[in-house]
Symmetry: C2
Subunit: 230 residues, 2 copies
């Protein structure tokens, strides 16, 4: 039931009570394990997804199967509607952690948009924010060298991770997964992480990366004027 949902940041909360109940009765909320596809590139668009809990990567591949992660999403984010107006997804989505994700079909969503201006406006604002973030990312990936890109990637992962309450952010992604976020390869990521560890800018516990001072990492990227969001 949406009305009892623990996730206050869900966009559906911007609908009227009637509509929240209506959507609630039509949605379903499967439980996804880690590394599970939510939808594939090329598959039919049936509706949209709202992340209740967990972390998700949005990916796009070239013809050889090489994957690029184009966006990370966490609870409160909306997925899959990017392809609105198209019949098929041009991107895919995969869970990075165990997740709960609500699905709402196209028709219900369309009616909700027409009758809930506040909801529609907030969804518009969400896309507007994501576009701005994507554009800042474009700039950073275009201008930065490898080391800076890796730091950017780590901060981006931290930003979209769920347990950022403590002063120790832990990153469980593989070097390969991090490389796909910033458009490089796993060797480069390894090298940079080794250097950052020597410089005391992060720690590692086995393969887990531990960020103990986000501000110090952000300071290394201050040339790029990205104080607000990563």
């Amino acid at each position: 039931m949406c009305l009892e949902c623990c996730n206050q940041s869900c966009l559906i909360n911007n609908c009227t009570l009637d509509w929240i109940e209506k959507i609630s009765s039509k949605k379903n909320t499967p439980h996804y394990p880690k590394n599970q596809f939510i939808f594939f590139e090329g598959s039919l668009v049936m509706g949209a997804y709202f992340i209740k809990r967990g972390q998700v990567k949005i990916i796009s591949s070239n013809i050889n199967g090489k994957e690029q992660t184009v966006r990370l999403a966490k609870e409160g984010h909306m997925l899959g509607h990017t392809a609105f107006g198209l019949e098929k997804y041009s991107i895919g989505a995969v869970t990075l952690s165990e997740s709960e994700i609500c699905f709402v079909d196209n028709r219900t969503l369309q009616e909700a948009f027409l009758e809930n201006p506040k909801f529609t406006i907030e969804v518009m604002r969400f896309y507007s924010r994501e576009l701005r973030k994507s554009e800042i990312r474009t700039k950073c990936l275009a201008m930065m060298n490898n080391e800076e890109k890796v730091i950017l990637g780590l901060l981006y992962i931290a930003e979209t991770s769920n347990d950022q309450n403590s002063n120790q952010t832990k990153i469980y992604l593989s070097r390969q997964e991090i490389a796909q976020i910033i458009g490089t390869n796993s060797e480069q990521v390894s090298r940079v992480i080794s250097n950052l560890r020597k410089d005391k800018l992060l720690d590692t516990e086995d393969r887990t990366i531990v960020l103990h001072d986000l501000e110090a990492l952000k300071a290394t990227l201050s040339h790029y004027c990205i104080a607000i969001e990563y």
Copy 2:
């Protein structure tokens, strides 16, 4: 007057007649010469811009003043609203050709959104499409080598150019401007353009680049599965 506007693709056309007239009476439509700032990074957000005619680049700079073009826009596109909810622009916008651009203030826009669900939905879809395009661009810039990036840039410029009616698309941007779109430098762009001219994939007339076969150029990038949009 919006009702007599030549630009059918303007998002404002999705409002009711009443509202089109209301917006029409409140907007203004300055005439911008080439290379004119529409708004600056860091300046206050007063409203949104709707391009009636012309081509615009959205830019973001680092602290040394080095510029990256993060998006191109043409007639029918909406600008400046990316910063919705923020007080200041995180990006800037500059005309690439002589342009007419309508300005609508925040308050009028907000009321229009609340009372014109169709308008709001179309604006949402616009941002959704732009986000998808930005993400495909992220992937391409991350995966492509220099030559491929230059071709991508040329196709992107052609796509957002106004005179794509003939089978000869002419590009009047400088090598430096092209370089800023794809995140490289003017020398690299020169080199690639020379090679493409030798391979008969484009012509040059003085400094103007002439694309006479867009399909052939697109074919060189087919590995990246970007058939739909650039």
